[in-house]
Symmetry: C2
């Protein structure tokens, strides 16, 4: 079976691409101003001290999302090309230390794909993480817990109380915690100062941050990996095989966009995603065979639930025939693909007009209330 | 021991950084014009078909360096963030297929570091590659040969006749050939149409191309990996876990710079490197204890040979004390570090003034002819 990225790649040149979760909506006026300054940013960052520039960009990004205690000035945050490259480096680290990881289920498939190349994985559900019942992990000899929060595709979040329980358990039992927070920018419920809890607990941790889902700037993006003192040196050494440094120019662009995000850009983004989600909900009101299961989700994708896997596959196929690309959800359920069969995923970080075009075509292929009666 | 990149990272904010092989010289007038158009390039590439854009950039780069038969339009060249990320993907591929690789010795240490995490390696020397005596490879059950050409740090090149011998041997014995040609742009002796030979022979191959060493544009760069038909699908699938796509904006920048390179930019670059190398040679004329061993090298780094490892270490240390960062060479000799002990490496892709500052300080710490008499 193709992985999710292969579905997304097929959609890149498609007419209506609601496949990938990368931001492809219009730039705001203030983002246009930043893009208009790209040459200036190039020349300004060229003469700045690299380390100063990196700290500034990391601080702008972290504080803009509430992560005031991220260990930026303690030199424990590293800049990488992308979150997938960071995940590769984490996977290598986990292999060097013979970890066995409990990985959130479901989640975007390239996370378990990259990890299971290297180490043994067991699934852990969102419910188990929320409930804080972790004793089963010890019975399975798990040494590491990998959590995507907010999670893709469900939009589920590890809220502050549950986060605290997980941190306390991991600290008590010397488990390594790995978080992928690539969608943090969409959901203020994940913008409590998680690093404060991590640092205070002295737990071993890695956090993969990502700027790549937030701003529609042609994949000019970075990932940051934050590390506890205990794993810092090993991660730094591993990353030195991957890169000398990221681009100072991209650091400058990220800094500008993160500052704009904190000054209103994120609010504008949240409104766009909420409006697009509401438009989907409105359409589903008329299409009684399809439900929207993730009522609390705020991230830039949205699942649709069909009465059966066969029906989901049929609608997916028909939409493809009308040049509308969306994602099947089986690959998210990396340990039990059938559990995802009845779901399809729509990307919401798009212009409302494109969402409307897709929804019109969805109406044409799905059964509506009157047809059902 | 620190790896080479860790030495280079320590130099990033240093006063005189002749450590890394990344281009840090002044932009030419025509490159300045391209940088002045960054915002335009952003908006132009935003509305273009991604695949058309990618093909155009790949073709500009390949044909500018003589690689007319690279399988760009046959959809067998993939774009990646950087050559190190490509090397990681290659390492994963080699592990999936249980390869044992002969890797050129010496070479930049992150290549063997990334590979030996995954598979067994044996060294092969530049001389063995040039001589075409490959029977020993079969005795060692080698299934893959990995060659950096031009090689870093020596500037050695696998010339066309030797390239042809290697390809014929590999095709006859079903060995996989991997080339890292990141420094190809500096040396026209590696700009024969290698892909013609690879394609005609039907050998299994991977070529890692890199734009990152050529233009001083703040790490706005790409790597391309070209594949034989036989390995294409597997590499494509592996890369889909790493990235959805590179940046269309960076594709546009690379396209513009590659076109400028072919129209005179590469000649200008070659003159700068040759002039800087000659300046080093002139200095060494007065410093009889130091030799310049790689008389045929044309790449953007240059080795210095000292009478002993102890003396090289001493000069390296003294230069560091004067804020001049250059590289020790032991890590290049990944299978026999001591062989590199008497060498230091200087980066040449710098402004001549910075080279002069470094050479002045080298003069101050090294023994000159008169002192020696």
């Amino acid at each position: 079976m193709r992985n999710l990225t292969e579905f997304e790649q097929a959609a890149l040149s498609g007419e209506v691409n609601l496949s990938d979760g990368h931001p492809r909506h219009d730039l705001t006026g203030r983002q246009l101003q930043i893009i208009g300054r790209l040459s200036d940013i190039f020349f300004e960052t060229r003469v700045q001290n690299f380390r100063d520039l990196e700290i500034r960009a990391q601080q702008s990004f972290m504080t803009g999302l509430g992560q005031y205690s991220a260990p930026v000035t303690d030199d424990r945050v590293f800049s990488v090309y992308s979150s997938s490259v960071t995940t590769m480096a984490v996977a290598s680290f986990l292999r060097r230390h013979n970890h066995k990881a409990a990985v959130i289920h479901p989640t975007f498939d390239n996370i378990p794909d990259l990890l299971r190349d290297m180490i043994e994985l067991v699934p852990i559900t969102e419910q188990e993480l929320a409930d804080g019942d972790f004793d089963a992990l010890l019975a399975k000899n798990v040494t590491c817990v990998f959590v995507t929060t907010p999670n893709n595709p469900t939009g589920w979040v590890l809220e502050e109380a549950a986060f605290g329980r997980l941190v306390a358990f991991a600290a008590a039992h010397r488990l390594l915690l790995c978080f992928d927070t690539s969608f943090r920018g969409f959901d203020i419920r994940t913008q409590f100062d998680g690093y404060k809890l991590l640092e205070d607990s002295e737990v071993d941790y890695l956090v993969i941050e990502d700027t790549g889902k937030l701003w529609p700037v042609a994949e000019l993006k970075l990932s940051f990996i934050s590390t506890s003192k205990s794993v810092r040196a090993d991660i730094e050494h591993g990353l030195s095989d991957v890169l000398l440094s990221v681009s100072p120019f991209v650091l400058g662009v990220v800094d500008a966009l993160a500052r704009d995000g904190a000054e209103g850009g994120y609010s504008t983004l949240h409104r766009l995603i909420a409006d697009n989600r509401q438009e989907v909900a409105r359409t589903l009101n008329d299409l009684t065979e399809i439900e929207m299961p993730d009522t609390e989700s705020r991230i830039s994708v949205c699942r649709l639930l069909f009465p059966s896997a066969a029906r989901a596959a049929q609608v997916h196929e028909k939409l493809l025939g009308m040049n509308v690309h969306i994602l099947p959800c089986m690959p998210f359920h990396w340990n039990a693909p059938d559990e995802g069969g009845s779901y399809l995923r729509i990307a919401l970080a798009r212009d409302p007009k494109l969402i409307m075009v897709a929804l019109d075509r969805l109406r044409a292929v799905a059964r509506n209330s009157s047809a059902r009666v």
